[in-house]
């Protein structure tokens, strides 16, 4: 029951992020999305008595819900990002498009979800989150929202890992976290160069 509520919240935070036109608010919704994901990992880990998932849940809360949003806000101040980020897809079209994507993904993932154990709707939601994150990347021209789209996509994949496989091996989860941090370092360098060029 708790997991159902949080998985709904996970999707809701992503949908709200798609309509956001301010950068800090978008970072906030990414942080909320990661917070819900971390709580979900803790809940599923507790239900399965999987210590590795509990550790990754805590790491998600610390790194994705707190660390990365803080760094993104810091970059935004340091490199003076444009904070007015109007999505290219107008709201009235997005209102039609997002439910269409959700219905389409549920239909698309039906043959896969039939083969899985546990709550199959979770898998469909993680796949639809993946498509919505791609939409987030597509509907913005600025780099910062595109980065948040990429990070949300990573969250959707993490959710798929939790729900479809009842957790990936610990080593892989930690490796993904390491790569994420490396991505942040590279992004910092790219932003830095952008500043020195202009």
């Amino acid at each position: 029951m708790g997991a159902d509520f949080f998985i709904g919240l996970f999707l809701a935070t992503l949908i709200v992020a798609l309509f956001t036109s301010r950068l800090y608010r978008l970072i906030f919704w990414y942080s909320m999305n990661s917070l819900v994901l971390g709580i979900l990992a803790l809940l599923v880990g507790k239900a399965l008595d999987d210590k590795a998932m509990l550790i990754t849940g805590v790491a998600t809360l610390l790194i994705k819900a707190v660390g990365i949003p803080y760094l993104l806000k810091h970059f935004s101040e340091k490199f003076q990002f444009v904070r007015q980020i109007q999505p290219q897809i107008k709201t009235h079209y997005a209102i039609i498009l997002i439910p269409a994507i959700l219905v389409f993904t549920f239909y698309l993932s039906e043959p896969i979800t039939h083969m899985m154990q546990g709550n199959t709707n979770y898998v469909a939601i993680s796949i639809s989150s993946l498509f919505l994150s791609l939409l987030l990347m597509m509907e913005h021209r600025d780099v910062a929202p595109k980065i948040i789209g990429f990070l949300s996509m990573e969250n959707a994949l993490f959710l798929l890992g939790i729900t479809a496989t009842e957790g990936m091996p610990m080593l892989v989860e930690l490796g993904i976290f390491f790569d994420l941090l490396m991505a942040i370092v590279v992004m910092n360098l790219l932003f830095y160069k952008e500043e020195t060029q202009s």
Binding site: V172, D179, Q197
Partner: protein, 471 residues
């Protein structure tokens, strides 16, 4: 112990890249050369050799790929010695290039030697992220834009690969538990996987991610634009090393998929590659500069490797892979000289070389250009001969022999378009345009000689025997 030896040169390179002493600049290429030593040692050990439990296991296939990559790495390092003489590059950018080159090597070693889907992905992601900054070493707006482009499209591609891996893992977890991540176990138990459709879905999604990374349909131009915007050694690294890490993943995943449903795998890869080569042939026909030309030709060859592999021509695929890994970086590195004076000018690019070094340079570049379109005795001539032979064998045993033969004929027509374009370009380089004096430096010539020797070694009967024994 072996893992420490493999990673040590890269770790030294990483640390030295932070030192600002003038002499430290010379230590960077030395540490890069040292990468070859542990790889040669690993190559000589009996296989399979467990480097890190069941996570990293060296077999004949991955040590061959690693050896080829390390030789390409040495060639690139040699060319980097004179990078500053052809393009403007600051000391800081040069050191930073090596810093990311070290991280790139670590990622590459892990992804090539991985016997674990998760570790393979982590290594590939690390190698991809480290190349982002290498693109940016060129301080131009185009390079900056393409670095971001690579970051975003590369991230999407790699996410698709992870998505596919999760589905494949989910399909095999009921029988193998957490060990469902291991390539060797998946191959052994492929026929027992309870939901083969789920595995095939995962495989198809992961492959689309890998194909996007290699510039296949529908993303044919993104890699070419990135290589155009970055310095030529980066393009050589992409074509000679990074694509090796991607293609070895394709080899490993497709071997498992072959056990599950060969007809599905073959149909999927065949149609995808035919579409890719169809578009690439026309893009090559319209290419107006060396970088895009070589980059698009790289896409064509990677598509051919994938086709030969799934057609059962594993020997042909591995020979083609080796030949491409040496030829393409050699051509990319030559563009440093070919374009340093005339920029994008193709006409007369092979004129204006004087002295022994100049003559040797244009002779080698001519040979490489003709070898890339498979003129004998290029190793690509033999690989295509065996590869198309394997495809015809597959066609004979299929239920749609006429359709298959028609598809192979279409493929040959497309390849002849590419052949025609390359010959026209070679003639333009040699016989048209004005002769402008161009300077060739010893280190870049050494790199080309190294690649020529490697190509010659590929043609030896002993190498053929070795390649046949890999799979």
């Amino acid at each position: 112990m072996m893992l420490a030896l493999l990673v040590l040169p890269a770790a030294v390179m990483f640390i030295v890249s932070f030192l600002k002493y003038r002499k430290a600049k010379f230590l960077l290429p030395i540490s890069s050369f040292a990468i070859l030593l542990p790889i040669v040692k690993l190559f000589m050990l009996s296989k399979p050799y467990a480097i890190l439990g069941s996570y990293l296991v060296a077999d004949k296939l991955d040590t061959y790929v690693l050896l080829v990559s390390s030789l390409v790495g040495i060639g690139v390092t040699l060319a980097l010695l004179t990078l500053g003489k052809h393009v403007r590059v600051t000391d800081k950018a040069y050191r930073r290039f090596y810093r990311f080159f070290a991280i790139f090597w670590v990622g590459l070693i892990f992804s090539i030697l991985a016997n674990h889907m998760g570790i393979y992905w982590i290594g590939l992601e690390l190698a991809t992220l480290s190349t982002v900054y290498m693109i940016k070493t060129n301080h131009t707006l185009a390079a900056h834009k393409e670095a971001w482009n690579y970051m975003i499209v590369g991230a999407i591609a790699i996410s698709l690969v992870l998505f596919g891996i999760i589905l494949m893992y989910a399909s095999a977890k009921p029988i193998l538990g957490e060990r469902a991540m291991q390539f060797d176990l998946l191959l052994q138990h492929a026929k027992e996987i309870p939901s083969p459709f789920l595995f095939e879905m995962g495989f198809a999604i992961a492959m689309v991610g890998m194909f996007v990374k290699m510039g296949f349909f529908p993303m044919n131009l993104w890699l070419a634009n990135i290589e155009r915007a970055s310095f030529y050694p980066v393009a050589a690294l992409f074509s000679g090393i990074l694509e090796s890490a991607v293609i070895i993943g394709f080899f490993r995943f497709s071997r498992i998929a072959m056990q599950i449903n060969y007809v599905h795998l073959f149909g999927f890869v065949f149609v995808y590659m035919l579409l890719t080569i169809f578009i690439v042939a026309f893009l090559i026909f319209r290419a107006k500069d060396f970088m895009r030309l070589f980059s698009l030709s790289g896409v064509e060859h990677m598509a051919l490797i994938a086709l030969f592999w799934v057609s059962g021509g594993t020997f042909a695929a591995l020979l083609h892979f080796g030949a491409h890994a040496f030829l393409k970086p050699a051509l990319f590195l030559s563009t440093g000289v070919l374009e340093s004076n005339g920029k994008y000018r193709i006409a007369g690019a092979l004129k204006g070389y004087s002295g022994k070094k100049g003559t040797l340079f244009w002779v080698l570049v001519s040979l490489f250009l003709l070898a890339i379109i498979s003129l004998p005795p290029s190793p690509m001539f033999f690989s295509e001969l065996y590869g198309f032979g394997a495809m015809i064998q597959t066609a004979k045993s299929s239920n749609h022999i006429l359709a298959m033969i028609a598809a192979i004929l279409l493929l040959l027509i497309l390849l002849s378009v590419i052949f025609y374009r390359f010959v026209a370009i070679y003639q333009s380089m040699k016989y048209e345009g004005k002769a402008e004096e161009k300077k060739v430096y010893a280190s870049e010539l050494l790199a080309l000689i190294l690649f020529a020797v490697c190509l010659f070694v590929l043609l030896l009967p002993a190498t053929f025997d070795y390649l046949r024994s890999i799979v």
